[in-house]
């Protein structure tokens, strides 16, 4: 499957039937649709690490509730969020996205941010039919703190056609902000983690 160019992206955005449409909302500036990607902006919510009493995250241990380890922070537009060197925070796209069943996408850094050390996402694939804001895993690999502004164009969405896709109904559907890790819910984790006698 090939990556969609700007005309094709616009075609999917303007499909008559909203159920079949590529939805990216709000698209504040039509220039966000680039030659072969769509620029997406940074949302207002951040999930940051709490320096608490949790020694580690064990995906088999449901007692390792993520609230003990992470907490949400909201930053207004026109205000700053400081991302320190080597710090991981979860954020999300400002835009709410709905991919039709015949599209898949991946989210990637914009080169301008990459050059100052910001890594945008480590889990980049977005399933066909996904509906929601995309969680971004932000890491500052640079030497100095980075100041992030909610609303800034921070990542890009590269979109591809997909054959035989089905509606995504997974655990990250219809969310409007970044989501906590959900590794505890993987069904076969117990099988791989439990020692046999």
């Amino acid at each position: 499957m090939s990556v969609l160019g700007s005309q094709e992206i616009k075609g999917f955005l303007n499909r008559d039937d909203i159920a079949e449409r590529l939805v990216i909302t709000p698209l504040l500036d039509s220039n966000q649709v680039g030659a072969s990607s769509v620029d997406v902006r940074l949302g207002n919510e951040f999930i940051v690490t709490r320096r608490g009493g949790l020694p580690s995250i064990d995906p088999t241990n449901e007692a390792s509730v993520y609230h003990q380890y992470q907490t949400k922070r909201h930053v207004n537009f026109k205000e700053k969020f400081y991302l320190h060197p080597n710090e991981l925070v979860l954020a999300s796209t400002l835009e709410y996205i709905r991919l039709p069943k015949d599209l898949t996408a991946y989210v990637t850094s914009r080169s301008s941010w990459g050059r100052v050390g910001l890594v945008i996402a480590t889990a980049v694939a977005i399933a066909p039919g996904f509906t929601g804001c995309i969680t971004l895993e932000l890491v500052n690999l640079g030497e100095v703190p980075l100041i992030l502004y909610p609303g800034a164009r921070i990542a890009q969405l590269v979109i591809e056609e997909c054959k035989g896709g089905s509606q995504y109904t997974g655990k990250y559907s219809c969310h409007t902000g970044p989501q906590y890790a959900n590794v505890f819910n993987d069904k076969d984790m117990a099988y791989f983690a439990k020692k046999r006698r």
Partner: protein, 464 residues
């Protein structure tokens, strides 16, 4: 050597220091509006003025006054504790600020959650000034808030239930109701009606105790006070209800119905003297008809499955509320008490003037019924697909909607009791209700952002 003055001074200074420490804590939080930090700056200035005064006064009385003042200040923390951005949704705050500013441009608003299950509005600017004017005579001229400072509280448990927040339209209505009633009580018509009421009460009291004229006079005064109290309270509540519907549209009626429908016919009782809920719903429904909201919804037709389910359920719901308002059990309950009967006959007369006043006062911010038919069907379709109801059209011809249409779409979807995203094979549960709220809240944020972005980028382009 023990001295009352020095002991009190030390105690007051300790309290000053504790309050200052709490101010520092709450100042470090992030808030969705500028108002909490502006208020904290003001309070800190007042606090340091009080502290200076405490250091120099020499009488026990003055120190006692200072101590009381400090206790009053510490009670204000309740309005700041939950006002930070983590605990007060931005969409809620921005919509309240928008409405209050339209109604009174110099007003300041401070929304915050409270643990009690209650929605309320408290003006704190006046009490702050009054509390310190004798102690700090210069405060009046330096007071930075020229209009009312309204603390708006909502139940903490309902924080994320954006649909219920339309109840806050009622709270916004209270200062408007006071505005009407304060003017009304100065009018000739009021004074003349009051004289008639005195006559009615006199006849009533004379009939009950004709042989004791002095006692009868006293009784008349008590009865008149009661009638005036019942009338004022009823008008305060009913006018505020009408404001909420005019501002928020049908969503306000749906939310008010949730609050009021458990007890429809209780007559006014001390100490609060609330009017019967059925009577309130009757006026709410009247505004729904006057503003053409009912006609517009009743005329909506859609063949698409999700939208049509929502429209038909809402029509049924409207019919249900209409039937509630057509029953007159509340009036029978009121008429059992002679004073209530007098008060409510007066309420009905006064409501004509009140509605005229409201139509003029709110004409620039009324929710327009045309938006229901133009915007809501497509917004319902978006909700059915799990998309926030913030805009209509396609990117080539996009239109950001009025955020009140988003709220109405959320309500209509909620009334239909279907899943989101819509799936006819799945049963609705609390999780779906949570998604509706989440998407509605997001759509309000998006609408406000899109309008602000458009305005600011347009004006920026004009400048260059």
């Amino acid at each position: 050597m023990h001295s009352d003055v020095e002991h009190l001074r030390r105690k007051s200074l300790q309290l000053c220091s504790s309050i200052a420490a709490r101010f520092d804590e709450i100042e470090s939080a992030d808030y969705p509006l500028a108002s909490p930090k502006e208020l904290i700056v003001l309070f800190s200035q007042i606090l340091s003025a009080i502290e200076k005064k405490i250091r120099i006064v020499s009488s026990v009385n003055e120190l006692v006054v200072a101590q009381r003042l400090l206790e009053f200040y510490s009670s204000l923390f309740q309005f700041f504790d939950g006002a930070n951005i983590e605990r007060t949704p931005r969409a809620l705050v921005k919509t309240i600020e928008f409405l209050i500013k339209v109604i009174s441009s110099d007003a300041t608003v401070l929304p915050s959650p409270i643990h009690e299950y209650n929605y309320s509005i408290v003006e704190i600017g006046g009490p702050i000034l009054k509390a310190v004017e004798h102690f700090i005579p210069d405060i009046q001229k330096d007071f930075p808030f020229k209009g009312p400072v309204n603390c708006i509280s909502f139940p903490y448990v309902e924080r994320d239930n954006i649909l219920m927040h339309t109840v806050l339209g009622h709270e916004i209505g209270h200062p408007i109701a006071d505005e009407f009633l304060d003017d009304d009580e100065e009018s000739k018509a009021f004074k003349s009606k009051q004289e008639n009421t005195v006559e009615e009460i006199r006849a009533l009291v004379d009939n009950n105790s004709p042989e004791k004229p002095l006692f009868a006079f006293q009784q008349q005064q008590v009865c008149l006070t009661r009638v005036l109290k019942i009338r004022r309270r009823a008008l305060e509540e009913i006018i505020s209800d009408c404001v909420s519907v005019m501002l928020y549209g049908p969503s306000a009626m749906f939310a008010m119905n949730d609050l009021l429908s458990n007890d429809l016919d209780s007559p006014p009782a001390p100490p609060r003297f609330y009017p019967p809920s059925r009577m309130r719903l009757r006026y709410i429904y009247k505004i729904m008809c006057d503003k053409k909201y009912v006609d517009t919804i009743m005329a909506m037709v859609d063949k698409g499955s999700t939208v049509s389910l929502c429209i038909e359920s809402t029509k049924e719901f409207l019919s249900h509320i209409k039937s509630i308002t057509e029953t007159t059990d509340d009036q029978s309950a009121v008429e059992k008490d002679a004073l209530c009967k007098i008060a409510f006959e007066w309420v009905i007369l006064s409501m004509n003037d009140a509605l005229e006043f409201l139509n003029e006062r709110l004409k620039s911010v009324n929710y327009d019924a045309v938006l229901i038919s133009n915007q809501v069907p497509e917004l319902l379709m978006r909700l059915g697909l799990g998309i926030p109801p913030n805009e209509i059209g396609s990117p080539d011809n996009i239109q950001t909607v009025d955020w009140r249409s988003s709220m109405l779409a959320g309500w209509m979807y909620n009334i239909a009791g279907i899943t989101v995203p819509y799936d006819s094979n799945e049963n609705v549960n609390a999780h779906h209700h949570e998604i509706i709220n989440r998407l509605t809240m997001k759509s309000i944020e998006y609408s406000l952002l899109a309008n602000d972005y458009q305005t600011n980028t347009d004006s920026k382009l004009e400048e260059t």
